[in-house]
């Protein structure tokens, strides 16, 4: 693996040429907010929140491989503003009633809203009419909370042959779905994995929930990104 020299936020770093900007930033304790990204699954820049200025252009850090001499700016007031607009859009687009949500306190979307100190979105709430599918023995799929990041679809699929999770339709009608027949024998561990892949409360395990008390949930204790920045 060859090495390249890149500049992130004014500092120089030696990086593996095969890595993405996001990976290199993370290794060096620079937090770039993400939603559709999850370590270990193939990135697909769909939430657009990790957009940075890369060589002067807006590009997603999760999909852009590093290049020798590349100059990256991960954080400016304007970038933060744009990112917070995306978070707001997601709240306006779906139906998020956090107090009743199993993922509250452990939800990446909610944590980003806290990070950006979002009070009321400047957007119209759409209040779409979306379904909850609780017909599967192990999982509940709550489309109201789905942010369409496709993490469940892109998750590495050793066990999933053929494909379990998919995207349907297009435009503002897109939604995720999964094959109930193929997943009928899913064990608890797999169900937990499916739930953990979801950044929000759209994929929820049945029969078990709310097991971490308020005050001790993941983002109750540390704001999102603090683990990467290393300043607990």
């Amino acid at each position: 693996m060859s090495k390249v020299l890149i500049t992130i936020d004014g500092k120089g770093f030696l990086a593996d040429s095969e890595k993405t900007v996001l990976e290199v930033a993370r290794e060096n304790h620079i937090y770039i907010p993400t939603l559709c990204n999850l370590e270990g699954i193939k990135p697909q820049g769909s939430c657009r929140i990790c957009t940075c200025m890369i060589d002067g252009r807006m590009m997603t850090a999760c999909t852009t491989p590093v290049n020798n001499g590349m100059v990256v700016v991960t954080k400016t007031d304007e970038l933060d503003k744009l990112r917070s607009k995306i978070v707001e859009l997601l709240f306006a687009e779906g139906n998020h009633f956090c107090p009743a949500c199993e993922r509250s306190g452990n939800c990446e979307l909610q944590a980003l809203a806290y990070l950006y100190k979002i009070m009321v979105p400047e957007f119209d709430y759409i209040f779409p009419n979306r379904d909850v599918d609780a017909t599967h023995p192990k999982l509940i799929l709550d489309h109201n909370r789905c942010i369409l990041c496709k993490r469940c679809i892109r998750r590495k699929k050793e066990a999933e042959n053929p494909t379990w999770f998919v995207f349907e339709n297009r435009g503002n009608h897109v939604k995720i779905n999964f094959d109930h027949e193929l997943t009928a024998d899913m064990d608890d561990e797999m169900a937990q994995k499916a739930m953990d892949t979801c950044p929000v409360g759209a994929i929820i395990r049945k029969e078990k929930g709310y097991d971490v008390p308020i005050g001790r949930r993941k983002y109750d204790l540390h704001p999102i990104g603090s683990d990467i920045e290393g300043k607990e």
């Binding site: 657009r48 999909t63 687009e93 053929p162 998919v166 995207f167 503002n172």
Partner: protein, 610 residues
């Protein structure tokens, strides 16, 4: 032609499991026709939809079984495209265009006529399952609207009388061929260097292969040719990247998705000059080292299939396609047609490749670019129909000749498709550098309020800019010019229609593209309802930057209808706004009235509330 080109399929609609009743007896044959190749899923879905009127549960299960896919995975592709449906769409399926120009030309009245004659609403199938009525985005007939596609065949300039005849024929079970005569017009109203027929069959190819591939690329470079699909990327540079990229195989793709509303020049080339296009693709094959070309043709143009296949066969017969072309040892090249399924975004080159691979037409992340990893992950050059035609002419008549046309930065000519409020809508091949006013004079446009240059993703300009030049360095255009006169309500007839188009056509991946377009629509509706305030305008302008975060050109330009009209028609917006800076939509006094009455309280609202 003795046999009818457009027969009405015997959609028996029996037991397919979609709640309808078709029989799917032909599915094995269709799968076998495509060698049970997963990559040809689009073709399989098209044939099923066309023959059965739906792709029902049973068909989905069968495809899933043969390809070792899950059923939901088949639906994943199927549900992406307009023209595929899990629900039965009738023995005859009417797709009525709903583009802005169709609306301007009286689409609503035609839609009403269809609904009355057929006896069902748009978006549904009539009771006996005979006729389905559906809307669709621009079908490339803006110069002859209102128009509709019925079982692949296009019917233009619809009137109430024509609709009555068509519906009568459908109720009677007539072949689509016999409903009424179709009259898709080419309307070439100005010929330039590309459309002028001065290149004999084979001239351009022979010239090209008398040179080395590098020399061909160099000649194209000398011509300064830039892509005609909209982005204007230098063609020679694209080909060089592609030629130099490593791969097991290289591909040439022609982008004939032509989905930008108001563009129909590729349709005219495909019907009038297909030989020139295929020559250009063959030359590209020679230049980049490819033996396979694929013409990705939008489903809306399915009516051309027979003619195009005939032309391809003629070229093979003349050894202008196939093995050892024109006797040149080792130069093999052939072309096949790949149809789309109805999706504007598939015009974006990486989405086009995804679609051609039988998947959802979602644009890819870049890098890697298609020239490095394209179709089937192999180096692929994607070019527009007109670009290939230009290449053929450049080969035949030389780069120097080509450079003498147009402007310094924009050499050559451009086919523009003009439609809307003008006397002579149609195709005009102009040299780059013509002004908007020049074009308006050509087409006979009077009393013009605005001109939409480059379709919804382009710009809406006001008369004070009509002296601007059509050129990459000034007003770039992929070819769509829509004239809008003073009688039109710009916000309602144009901006809102375009926003609906983008909302409908977004692939749905990127958050701003999927969700912000809806927010823009809400704002325009608010302003049209007389409830807008200045802050709404400021917000819409501030959202433009968020739209630039989108992955592909669709999302990046989806706010253009709003932004360019705010910039160029600010007065129009201002005239619709309320005078106050901020008007609350929430009436506190009304909201608490009942509870106050119950509690016997007089609220102190501290303001000017009653």
């Amino acid at each position: 032609m003795s046999e009818k080109q457009f027969q009405t399929p015997n959609r028996s609609h029996d037991g397919c499991g979609c709640g309808c009743s078709c029989d799917n007896s032909n599915i094995d044959a269709i799968l076998a026709k495509y060698n049970n190749d997963r990559g040809r899923l689009m073709d399989i879905l098209i044939e099923l939809q066309d023959s059965e009127g739906c792709v029902g549960e049973e068909a989905i299960a069968k495809i899933a079984e043969v390809f070792n896919m899950s059923r939901v995975d088949v639906v994943q592709t199927l549900s992406f495209y307009h023209f595929f449906s899990q629900k039965y769409r009738g023995k005859y399926t009417v797709y009525l265009n709903d583009s802005a120009v169709a609306e301007m030309m009286g689409r609503d009245e035609i839609a009403k006529a269809f609904e009355e004659e057929v006896g069902c609403k748009f978006g549904s199938v009539n009771e006996d399952g005979n006729i389905g009525l559906f809307s669709t985005s621009c079908i490339g007939m803006n110069d002859q609207e209102p128009s509709a596609i019925i079982n692949q065949r296009v019917f233009t300039k619809l009137t109430k009388e024509k609709v009555a005849k068509i519906v009568k024929g459908m109720k009677n079970g007539d072949d689509v061929e016999d409903l009424i005569g179709t009259d898709v017009q080419s309307n070439i109203l100005l010929q330039g260097p590309i459309l002028t027929k001065d290149t004999e069959l084979g001239d351009a190819i022979r010239k090209a292969i008398s040179m080395s591939p590098e020399e061909v690329i160099e000649e194209v470079k000398q011509s300064n040719l830039r892509g005609r699909g909209g982005a204007g990327f230098p063609t020679a540079l694209k080909w060089r990247f592609c030629r130099n990229a490593d791969g097991e195989k290289h591909y040439v793709f022609c982008n004939a998705d032509e989905g930008e509303p108001g563009t129909f020049k590729d349709r005219v080339i495909l019907t009038e000059r297909p030989q020139l296009l295929f020559a250009g693709m063959t030359i590209a094959g020679y230049a980049i080292g490819s033996d396979e070309g694929i013409l990705y043709l939008r489903y809306e143009y399915k009516f051309m299939e027979a003619q195009l296949k005939e032309v391809l066969q003629q070229l093979r017969d003349k050894n202008l396609l196939g093995k050892n072309i024109t006797g040149k040892e080792g130069f093999d090249f052939d072309i096949r047609i790949q149809f789309g399924g109805g999706a504007y975004v598939c015009g974006e080159e990486s989405a086009l490749l995804e679609s051609a691979e039988g998947k959802r037409g979602e644009p890819r992340d870049r890098p890697p670019f298609p020239v490095v990893k394209g179709y089937m992950q192999q180096p692929t050059a994607v070019n527009n129909v007109e670009t290939f035609c230009s290449v053929a002419k450049i080969m035949h008549k030389g780069a120097k000749w080509y450079r003498s046309l147009g402007t310094l930065d924009s050499t050559g000519s451009k086919l523009v498709s003009v439609s809307g409020d003008c006397q002579r809508p149609g195709i005009y091949e102009i040299e780059w550098g013509f002004t908007v006013q020049d074009v308006l004079n050509l087409v006979g446009a009077k009393d013009v309020q605005a001109v939409q240059v480059g379709g919804p993703s382009g710009k809406c300009i006001a008369p004070n800019e009509f002296n601007r030049k059509l050129a990459y360095e000034d007003l770039a255009t992929g070819g769509s010019i829509i004239v809008i006169n003073n009688d039109r309500d710009l916000l309602n007839d144009i901006v809102l229609n375009f926003l609906d188009f983008f909302i409908e056509e977004s692939c749905g991946s990127c958050v701003p593209c999927r969700a912000m377009t809806v927010q823009y629509k809400r704002k325009i509706e608010k302003i049209l309802a007389g409830k807008g305030v200045k802050k709404d305008i400021d917000q819409m302008l501030s959202w433009e930057k968020v739209m630039h975060m989108n992955r592909c050109g669709l999302g990046q330009s989806a706010c253009n209808p709003v932004i360019s009209t705010i910039q160029n028609f600010r007065e129009l917006y201002n005239s619709k706004l309320q005078k106050e800076e901020y008007v609350s939509q929430f009436d506190l006094a009304a909201a608490i009235k009942e509870s106050c009455e119950t509690a016997g309280r007089i609220p102190n609202l501290g303001g000017n509330h009653e």
